[in-house]
Structures are given as structure tokens and as C-alpha cells.
């Protein structure tokens, strides 16, 4: 996940333009090989085993390698071999920016050193996306003011899970932006779901129509052309999947019980909840998705 946050860092430093970054992310995406593909190529796993792991990832919040080891498809040594073969996403992005002439090698090196120093990251951390430092980076990047520590921790767990699920089921060609706090939001196409129980959270994702179609197409593996009931249902399925896994994580890790309410899709309305809206813009290569949270019982 370093690549996504490093991209935002370069934007903030005005070393690249948003257009250059999106172009580089798009190119990087074409080169990036997933662990499952590498495992099949190496002869470590069959297509059916990789598919099994992908399905399992919709039910438990675990990494590909973890599940593959648990199921006996891969050994720890084989996972290490595959991870070593997989060029870190962060390096792919940097290499693409340099290759395209958007960033000089000197600018890249200087910004990387500054970034590593600011977030106390080592070269090893960059090579290992499983490092806990990714979680620390997310906590530093997204600031929630006026939220108590317990709820803040839940929100961070939610955000980390959401980014992992976006990478697992939609793609890693995105850059997140810092949180914005507002009182009202003009909805374009928005899927939402309330989570109730030991704490209450209203979650939502808003985007324009073409982004909705692209996101849904990727998630379900269909080539949707128009915004119909299946597209909207696919988006609802995604938020439902994410929130379902969140409820399981919270139940397992924090012994809290959460219940999901039915999903809802709305179009062209003004969202004015009783509490402030925290929203995170996520810029994908195909459009922008605004993820929103409202703490209902702060």
C-alpha cells in the first residue's frame, strides 16, 4: 500500500501532476503481477487453488499467502520466493514515473529518502507490504478530530480493511487523499449502509456514473456498459462484503457485536446527516470515489 500513499506524497510536494501520477499508476497496473499469477506460473498452485483462495478472501480478512499456507497450497518458503519475485508496487510506480520522464532519478531518490525518514520506513519495509508500518502510515495520514480513541481505532480498522479489499477485489491503481470533514454532501451516485450495535457508523461510497460502472465491472468481473440495477447491486455487494468482514474482525478482535442494515443506493440528493461527515477522496485511474463515514452516536 506504500505506492498509493507515496503517490499522494509526490502530489503534495508538487513533484508530479495528478495527470502524470494517474498515467504512471495506469502503466504500473499493467506490469504488476499478483501473487496468484506468479504461483501458477511457478507451478506452485493450480488455477483452482488460486480461485479457492480468492473466494476465501471474500469471507475472511487475510492475505493471499496466509490463506494459501493455511490450506496447504503453499509452504512459507514458497510464499517468500513469490514475494521476492514480485516487484514491490512502490518501486514499480517510482520506476514508471522516472521512465516516463515525470520525475528525475535525483528527485525520486531525494523524495524517497525524505519519505522514509518522515515515516521511519526502511528499504525492507518497502519490499514487505505486510509490514505493520503500513497500518502506522495510515494512522498518520488520516486524522480524525473530535473522535474518542476507541472509535478512532475502529475507524482506522475500517479504513485499513477497506483499502485492502479495494486492492484485493478492484485494483491497486489509486491514490488516497486526506480526510475532509463537512456537514453536508451532494450525492451523485451513492451506495450506503448503516452499521449498528456496540457502536453505530453510517458508511457510504459516492461517485459519478462512469466511475460507478467501472468500479462495479471490476468488482464483479463483468463488462457493464450502462448504469442498470446489476451495476448498483454490484456496488451494494461490495460495501456489504467490506462491512461484513469488518463486523467479523470487530467481533473477533474486540468482542463487539455489530449488525448490518440493508444497503441503499441514492442518486442526486443532498446528504445531511445529524453528525459531521468524514470523507476520503480516492482517485482511481477510472474516476474518483468518495468514501464517507458518519459516527451516529458519538
Amino acid at each position: 500500500m506504500y505506492a498509493q500513499f507515496f503517490g499522494n506524497y509526490l502530489l503534495n510536494k508538487e513533484l508530479v501532476t495528478p495527470e502524470q501520477l494517474i498515467d504512471a499508476i495506469q502503466c504500473k497496473q499493467d506490469i504488476h503481477l499478483k501473487l496468484g499469477v506468479l504461483a501458477i506460473h511457478r507451478g506452485f498452485m493450480t488455477v483452482e487453488e488460486v480461485e479457492f483462495v480468492h473466494v476465501k478472501q471474500t469471507q475472511v480478512d487475510k492475505r493471499f499467502g496466509e490463506i494459501a499456507i493455511e490450506e496447504g497450497f503453499l509452504t512459507k518458503q514458497q510464499v517468500d520466493i513469490l514475494l521476492n519475485e514480485q516487484t514491490p508496487d512502490f518501486l514499480l510506480l517510482s520506476q514508471t514515473l522516472v521512465d516516463k520522464g515525470y520525475l528525475t532519478m535525483e528527485e525520486f531518490q531525494a523524495s524517497m529518502i525524505e519519505y522514509q525518514s518522515r515515516f521511519e520506513l526502511t528499504d525492507l519495509d518497502f519490499a514487505n507490504e505486510q509490514s505493520n508500518k503500513v497500518n502506522a502510515l495510515i494512522r498518520e495520514f488520516f486524522e480524525f478530530d473530535e473522535v474518542n480513541d476507541d472509535l478512532k481505532e475502529m475507524l482506522y480498522c475500517y479504513i485499513i480493511l477497506l483499502f485492502n479489499n479495494i486492492i484485493r477485489f478492484v485494483g491497486n491503481d489509486f491514490t488516497p487523499f486526506p480526510i475532509v470533514k463537512i456537514g453536508a454532501y451532494p450525492i451523485t451516485w451513492c451506495v450506503s449502509q448503516k452499521i449498528t450495535g456496540d457502536f453505530s457508523l453510517h458508511t457510504a461510497m459516492d461517485m459519478d456514473e462512469s466511475t460507478l460502472i467501472s468500479f462495479a465491472s471490476r468488482y464483479v468481473g463483468e463488462d457493464y456498459k450502462v448504469n442498470d440495477a446489476y451495476v448498483r447491486s454490484s456496488m451494494e455487494d461490495f460495501i456489504n462484503l467490506n462491512n461484513g468482514l469488518f463486523a467479523v474482525n470487530v467481533s473477533n478482535d474486540n468482542a463487539k457485536t455489530l449488525y448490518l442494515q440493508p444497503t441503499l443506493t441514492e442518486n442526486d440528493v443532498l446528504f445531511v446527516p445529524e453528525a459531521p461527515i468524514y470523507y476520503i477522496p480516492i482517485q482511481f485511474t477510472f474516476g474518483t470515489v468518495n468514501v464517507m463515514f458518519v459516527l451516529l452516536d458519538q
Partner: protein, 128 residues
């Protein structure tokens, strides 16, 4: 898997999940597939059509799957109902089983899991 002769009722407010389930049953020779989008519709459809097996989502607007299974089981204690949800916590599982569900599926749709619960249903029915 030949499911010819099986009468199935699929209840979910998600049109995507209903389509995935319907495609699965159609591909397995099942010609009697009923689909509804709410708990109340599931109750009405059950009383009217008496399906062999019911797939019932827990989280739905208006009337939840748990409310629907309670009414269906009250009407027909022999109803064979499989509940599903995107939330795979022990609490959801307990709620479903306590309400009388024979099995519990975690969403999203997965062919292998559906095959497993149908095979279980067939073995139970074959044993009767």
C-alpha cells in the same frame, strides 16, 4: 449435478445475488426457480408454492430474514431453509440456526459452497 424436479425459492434484496443463484440452478437443470426480494414476499411465496428448499438472506429491508424464517417455520415446521449473510460472525450463525435454518452460507456467492449445501440437502432428503 442434476437438480431437475427441485423447486427452489431464492429471497434476497440483491438482484445480483439472485441472478448468480438463478444462473447456478438453471445451469444444473433446475427449472422451478422462484425469486423474491423481501421477507414478506418470501413468506407469501412459500405459502403459495411450497418450495423444496429456500435460500433466505438475513439482512433485508421491511422484514428481515430472521422474521421471515420464524413465520415460515410456524406455517411449516418441515421447511428446509438455508440462510445467508455477508456477516459470518457467530452471532449471525446462532441467530440463523436458532430460528430453524438447516444451514448458513456466507456471501458473496460461491458455487462450491452452494453445491455443498445442496448435496447436504439431497443426502438428508434421500435418507428420509
Amino acid at each position: 449435478m442434476n437438480l431437475n424436479g427441485l423447486k427452489v425459492l431464492i429471497c434476497d434484496d440483491s438482484i445480483l445475488f439472485r441472478k448468480q443463484m438463478k444462473d447456478f440452478f438453471t445451469a444444473n437443470e433446475c427449472s422451478s426457480i422462484l425469486e423474491v426480494a423481501s421477507g414478506q414476499e418470501a413468506i407469501d411465496a412459500y405459502k403459495e408454492h411450497q418450495p423444496d428448499i429456500v435460500f433466505l438472506d438475513i439482512i433485508m429491508p421491511n422484514k428481515t430474514g430472521i422474521e421471515a424464517i420464524n413465520e415460515i417455520m410456524h406455517y411449516d415446521p418441515m421447511a428446509y431453509i438455508i440462510m445467508f449473510s455477508s456477516v459470518g460472525t457467530q452471532q449471525y450463525l446462532k441467530d440463523a440456526i436458532f430460528a430453524g435454518a438447516h444451514d448458513f452460507l456466507q456471501k458473496p456467492f460461491d458455487t462450491c459452497t452452494v453445491v455443498n449445501v445442496i448435496e447436504k440437502y439431497l443426502s438428508v432428503k434421500g435418507g428420509n
